[in-house]
Symmetry: C2
Subunit: 116 residues, 2 copies
């Protein structure tokens, strides 16, 4: 997963899908938005998909891609556990982010964007 995201174009794709949420984004729209060739986009989508970071569903002639939140959460959990175990001072600022200071919990809790 880390190596899948360790690639400028793929990270951009994934971020786009995360922002899009449960609606997902069609491959063509991704290509247009990020200004990449459809075939290399397809290759990158394949890598992300194989890493478990995204899923897809056919809809008409488009194929819609979605970020796989569970995988993302799992990866972050892995990283958080490792960093917290050895370095408590890393956690505090992160807790602050999660704990509604900025954007997350406050934005997360009420609206409940995607019913999964």
């Amino acid at each position: 997963m880390l190596s899948a995201l360790g690639h400028e174009a793929r990270l951009a794709i994934f971020r786009l899908l995360v922002k899009a949420g449960a609606e997902g984004v069609a491959a063509g729209d991704i290509a247009r938005t990020l200004n990449v060739l459809p075939n290399s986009l397809s290759a990158n989508l394949n890598v992300l998909s194989h890493a478990g970071l995204i899923t897809s569903r056919r809809e008409g002639r488009s194929i819609i891609y979605f970020a796989e939140y569970g995988a993302m959460a799992g990866m972050l959990e892995f990283l958080l556990r490792d960093c917290c175990n050895g370095a408590p001072e890393v956690c505090a600022p992160l807790s602050a982010i999660l704990d509604g200071t900025d954007n997350c919990a406050s934005a997360c809790a009420p609206s409940a964007v995607s019913p999964q």
Copy 2:
């Protein structure tokens, strides 16, 4: 950073350094622990260092390497912001990790490291 960590050996190195904490680990000890050749270890340490994930200090004839917690926190913050904005349901399980269920927040929270 993501691509630096997206490499089995480098991730192992980084995890080792995170666990070691402020004491750091000498290059030779890393090589012995992870059973890698010193020259390829050096190359990987270089990549991690260039990514800002680790630092080093000479101590006698050894060179001690340390995880750079700030960089790690920055990276996690970046990932958390992105995922939380679009995907509230990712946050909950992570908050649980940070919030003292296991290991972290209980150790983190009281000390209040950064006033932001």
